[in-house]
């Protein structure tokens, strides 16, 4: 039977605030020792009180606006109780009843819109590492601010699930609210998948695959679940509502041991944090800080940059932003240099940290159009503009230092051609050419290039050679 998959995704985004959501402790624990970014508040010592980070509220507004969401002026926090060693408090502070971010939508590159149900602020849990007979607890991540983004079940394929997660990632990095470092778990996805027979008005039973940390694993996990559930349903079986874990190595999901007991989080209002009541002015002034988003760039560069090229560039906000300083006539060239030269370069990650100005890039393309730089030389100078050893010296200086500027001065080129033609070893080639052997022109151009130490403009040289030999 043919089934229609329906997919809903919950995404946790770690916000890149300086301090944690409820304590004045360093929130960026990347590369730091375990339990080194921890305060007595995170440790939940008796009598400790949470102190709300105002920046997290501002970030949440921007994140919400990036997803075209309504911002709820009134929101508040609740306690979600559960017992687990990753949470010293014994509860998570979250927004269960009144989230700060309301309904909105995310538009995929294909144009498909995925509605957002809501998104709320909450504190992250600590990290557990499991060993044979014990587990170790690192509380660095406790109460890192998160927004949990809950989509509507609007996704119907593994590819759209992938594209949705990737677009969310782009929105968060363009909005500047998250480092978006997936390797370090800055974004984690829980994916709900169900199948319903084609034409059915009811959704099937769903499974939840938790804690996926790459777009590719989201796509593969959905593919796997669709195949598994299809086989199960076709053979007369029933899908069990359960939480499943993803194994990247085997490419399979497996049922996770779950407690018999129904979840009972005993939510209650968080008494230590007064409610949030934002004025329209406050919401608007934060919303205005939202820079252009990927969808804005898609509209802006439609027709001037190829879609495929732009989609690659949209993974790098600073590259796309640099394009804004590029003259319209140079856009295609620069966009192509970014994708085919810069991103192909081994050191691209390092180079991306500090980019040349739009003015320098414009100058480079102009030197190429004036034939002062060959296309190979253009690529070479282009890369040097990112090289910490070379950059900031100016495009022309770099090209000069590398001896890459082409000789276009006709008088100078003629002199070079004369020297070549006077050489005894070129006599035979000259005769052959005059006798109609077209291809020896390449040899003569090569000699002139050698004579000019590679600086001559080869097409100009060829023209002069033809003139001199045939007239």
């Amino acid at each position: 039977m043919k089934y229609i998959p329906t997919i809903g995704i919950e995404c946790h985004v770690q916000l890149a605030t300086k301090t944690k959501l409820f304590s004045e402790v360093d929130n960026d624990a990347r590369g730091k020792e375990p339990n080194s970014c921890v305060s007595p508040v995170d440790y939940a010592l008796p009598g400790m009180l949470p102190r709300l980070n105002g920046e997290a509220i501002k970030f949440a507004i921007r994140a919400g606006k990036a997803m075209n969401c309504k911002i709820n002026p009134k929101s508040r926090f609740d306690r979600k109780h559960y017992f687990y060693p990753d949470s010293p408090k014994g509860y998570q502070i979250t927004q269960f009843y009144s989230p700060i971010i309301g309904a909105g939508f995310v538009e995929l590159p294909s144009g498909t819109k995925i509605r957002i149900e809501h998104a709320h602020l909450e504190g992250d849990a600590g990290k557990l590492t499991h060993f044979d007979t014990y587990s170790l607890v690192d509380l660095n991540r406790v109460d890192t601010p998160l927004i949990e983004i809950v989509s509507m079940p609007d996704i119907h394929s593994a590819k759209d699930a992938h594209d949705y997660c990737k677009e969310l990632w782009r929105l968060m990095i363009f909005a500047g609210v998250s480092y978006g470092d997936l390797y370090n778990g800055n974004m984690r996805f829980d994916v709900n998948t169900s199948l319903a027979p084609e034409g059915s008005t009811e959704l099937g039973t769903r499974t939840e695959v938790k804690n996926l940390n790459s777009f590719r694993s989201v796509e593969r996990a959905v593919e796997y679940e669709i195949a598994r559930q299809t086989k199960l349903l076709d053979s007369g079986g029933k899908v069990k509502q359960e939480t499943r874990g993803w194994n990247d190595a085997t490419g399979k999901t497996t049922a996770q041991r779950s407690k018999e007991e129904a979840k009972d989080y005993r939510y209650m209002p968080e008494p230590d944090l007064p409610p949030i009541n934002l004025s329209q002015d406050f919401i608007e002034s934060e919303s205005e800080k939202l820079p252009l988003m990927p969808s804005d760039y898609r509209k802006k560069y439609k027709g001037s940059i190829k879609e495929d090229t732009l989609e690659i560039l949209l993974d790098y906000p600073n590259l796309v932003r640099t394009l804004e300083e590029i003259d319209a006539k140079n856009l295609t060239t620069i966009a192509n240099l970014f994708t085919s030269v810069l991103l192909a370069e081994e050191k691209s990650a390092e180079y991306l940290e500090s980019l040349p100005s739009g003015q320098e890039l414009n100058e480079l393309v102009e030197m190429n159009s004036k034939k002062e730089l060959s296309s190979t030389a253009t690529k070479e100078v282009f890369l040097r503009l990112f090289d910490p050893q070379m950059k900031n010296r100016g495009v022309r200086n770099i090209a000069k230092e590398l001896g890459l500027i082409q000789e276009n001065d006709l008088a100078a080129l003629e002199k070079i051609v004369d020297i070549v033609l006077a050489k005894p070893e070129t006599k035979k080639a000259q005769e052959d050419f005059k006798n109609g052997e077209e291809k020896v022109i390449g040899f003569l151009v090569g000699q002139a290039m050698k004579e000019s130490k590679g600086k001559a403009n080869p097409s100009a040289v060829q023209e002069i050679l033809r003139k001199k030999l045939l007239h």
Binding site: T19, F83, Y134, S135, L136, E261
Partner: protein, 95 residues
């Protein structure tokens, strides 16, 4: 509402407490008393009244996003744990 043994055991399970039979009985009696006392509030008519989430009538209490030194360092905090290993808190295997 009367507190049943199962309710106590359910709550104990959620909080990872192991209770003796006597404790279950004692807690049941205590909670029963507490809930009966609080149940007096049910006599009030609360229709059309916003629930109270916070009694101080404060709003928008938040701080700047600046890192501040803490009263306790890692060693002090880890000293409070039963067992530590590689600067982490060692706990019985979970999962």
């Amino acid at each position: 509402m009367e507190i049943k043994r199962e309710d106590i055991l359910h709550l104990a399970e959620l909080s990872n407490f192991s209770l003796t039979d006597e404790e279950v009985d004692k807690l049941g009696d205590d909670l029963d008393g507490i809930i009966k006392y609080i149940s007096q509030l049910n006599q009030l008519d609360t229709d059309n009244i916003e629930p109270t989430y916070q009694v101080f009538e404060m709003e928008n209490v938040w701080r700047d996003d600046e890192i501040l030194p803490q009263d306790a360092d890692r060693e002090m905090l880890l000293n409070l744990t039963k067992e530590e290993r590689e600067h982490q808190i060692k706990v019985p295997k979970v999962l």
